[in-house]
């Protein structure tokens, strides 16, 4: 049993995220680890395979900055707003580089994480039958048919996902490096347990984690590194700490539409920012 180490954000990324890694930054609409994603961009990681159910603005930024070779995902939109323009530009026009896509439904990708966390080779579900997702997935090796050994029913299998490193943002860690998150907890537990290494940024380091409804506790020995990064989920949010910045999500649509404007925003608010604190604000 190895307990997690408390590091600065820049140390955590420098030590545990390498070029070419399979990296999952999870957080389903809540607790999205933006600050960690920004540090990956600042450190210039390349050729990453990035995994996320909802790529959201954070993967739009990673893609636009040229960090990504391949993306495994299930819904690539700006929630409630529209398109992810940097993702579209990469897929439609190969700017700044082409990216390969492996796509699932939410149920497909969630079950691929569950299988990964269970250290099983595949997960199983019904909903792909008859769709072109299934056809595409068979070509890419992400989806296959299986027959139930008990009933003979034909089902879809999804290849397990085991990231090299999963990064999440949580509300709290204690001084021993145990982590607690609550509210909408998405697929973070599965993504952490599926990975070889797990980095967690937190709003707050506390002496003791108080029991709380709907909370998940990740014991210190399944976490590799903890970094204290208040507001590390902005413009997403941390339940009981911050509100979702819906205004920024809407503003991103305009920023990301234009290559130059996007680069300028990233330069001003991410590249020239500190490696150990979160970017907050930066509206046009």
């Amino acid at each position: 049993m190895t307990r997690s180490t408390q590091l600065s954000l820049s140390e955590a990324i420098a030590t545990h995220v390498e070029d070419g890694d399979v990296v999952a930054l999870e957080g389903f609409t809540h607790l999205i680890p933006f600050a960690a994603g920004h540090e990956i961009i600042r450190q210039g990681r390349r050729d990453l395979t990035v995994v996320r159910m909802t790529p959201d603005v954070i993967y739009d930024q990673l893609i636009g900055m040229g960090c990504v070779a391949r993306m495994i995902f299930s819904y690539g939109g700006n929630p409630g707003v529209g398109s992810l323009h940097r993702m579209r530009d990469a897929v439609e026009n190969d700017w700044p580089a082409s990216i390969d896509l492996i796509e699932h439904s939410h149920a497909g990708l969630a079950n691929a994480y569950v299988a990964g966390a269970s250290r099983l080779p595949f997960g199983v579900l019904k909903g792909y039958a008859g769709t072109d997702l299934e056809e595409r997935g068979r070509q890419s090796g992400a989806i296959a048919f299986v027959e139930c050994p008990f009933t003979g029913q034909r089902l879809s299998a999804v290849r397990a996902i085991n990231p090299d490193v999963t990064v999440i943002h949580a509300q709290q860690a204690d001084r021993d490096g145990n982590v607690m998150l609550w509210g909408l907890t998405g697929v973070q537990k599965e993504a952490v347990l599926a990975a070889d290494r797990a980095i967690v940024t937190v709003e707050e380091i506390v002496d003791e984690l108080a029991p709380r409804p709907h909370a998940i506790v990740l014991p210190s020995w399944v976490v590799t590194a903890v970094a204290h990064v208040p507001n590390g989920a902005w413009p997403s949010y941390a339940h009981d700490y911050s509100k979702r910045d819906n205004r920024f999500y809407a503003a991103w649509d305009e920023i990301a539409r234009d290559r130059e404007r996007f680069r300028a925003w990233m330069e001003e608010h991410v590249l020239s920012a500190s490696g150990d604190t979160a970017t907050v604000g930066g509206e046009p």
Binding site: F28, T29, H30, M53, T54, F73, S74, Y75, G76, G77, P79, G80, V81, S83, L84, M87, R88, V91, E92, E103, H104, S105, H106, A107, G108, A110, N111, Y113, V114, L125, K126, G127, Y128, A129, G130, T131, D132, L133, R136, Q153, R154, G183, L184, T185, G186, V187, K189, E190, H214, S236, Y237, H239, K243, R244, N246, R247, Y249, A250
Partner: protein, 257 residues
């Protein structure tokens, strides 16, 4: 804005209001973003106060005070009776068939209500890369019924989908039974022009037209020879109360943002 606030309903407002009317009280609704979200929340404020809203982000029995911008809004988590993880939501609640009505949108829909939300054009060299599947394939497969809300035009109502993301009624020859899907599939498609319902073989038929729309206009906005029912109903125009409630709900979102 004042013109919209006081004026006659826009086609989009009529679409949302007619979709809300399809909701019955106490139904369990799976709600996504966009018009379905507005329709479900409108129904809850009007004739279906006890309908149950489920958001795929994990909020069960959410009672949002304001119209959520996204399925991740903090308001949903704070008002939900239960919060569950995403694998639990998709497996135990959606996949297992515990949803009465799934609302879906579409970039393209065909005559058998199959849906594309993935790409326009060729997959490997798309004209438009769309967001992709999200929860839709499982919602379409397993919800007891599905309501599709989509603006109608030749671009969206197509002879052949560029990509089949979610199955409605397949090829019309008992596809759902063959695939072992537990739900009935799409039972109604509500557009800005009218209401379409699948016939016995699953092919869409024009069942109602909204105020100010004629049948010919709907045919011209459909990319295949549209079946029209012998009796096409006239949609009851949005009432003052429906329109006022919808506009108030949306104005509250704008002022909060």
């Amino acid at each position: 804005m004042s013109e919209q606030r006081d004026g006659a309903p826009t086609p989009e407002e009529t679409m949302t209001i007619v979709a809300a009317r399809e909701v019955r009280d106490r139904q369990v609704l799976l709600v996504g973003v966009g018009p379905p979200n507005a329709a479900a929340n409108l129904a809850r404020r009007l004739h279906a106060p006890d309908c149950v809203l489920v958001y795929e982000s994990g909020a069960i029995e959410a009672k949002p005070v304001r119209l959520p911008l996204s399925i991740g809004d903090d308001d949903l988590a704070e008002t939900a009776a239960e919060l569950v993880s995403v694998p639990e939501m998709l497996n135990y609640w959606v996949g297992a068939g515990r949803i009465d009505v799934g609302f879906l949108g579409a970039a393209q829909i065909d005559r058998f209500c199959n849906i594309n939300t993935t790409v326009i054009g060729a997959y490997d060299d798309p004209k438009v890369r769309l967001p992709g599947a999200g929860g839709a394939p499982e919602i379409a497969a397993a919800s007891r019924e599905v309501i599709v809300v989509v603006r109608q035009s030749k671009r969206s109502f197509v002879e052949k989908l560029d990509f089949v993301t979610s199955i409605g009624h397949g090829d019309g020859s008992g596809t759902r039974e063959r695939l072992n899907f537990s739900g009935a599939g799409p039972t109604v498609v509500i557009t800005d022009l009218g209401v379409l319902r699948p016939g016995p073989d699953g092919e869409l038929e024009l069942a109602a037209i909204h105020p100010g729309v004629d049948v010919e206009q709907v045919r011209e906005s459909t990319g295949w020879p549209l079946r029209v029912r012998d009796v096409v109903e006239a949609t009851e125009p949005p009432s003052e109360r429906e329109l006022h409630t919808l506009r108030e709900m949306r104005a509250a979102v704008r002022s909060a943002a």
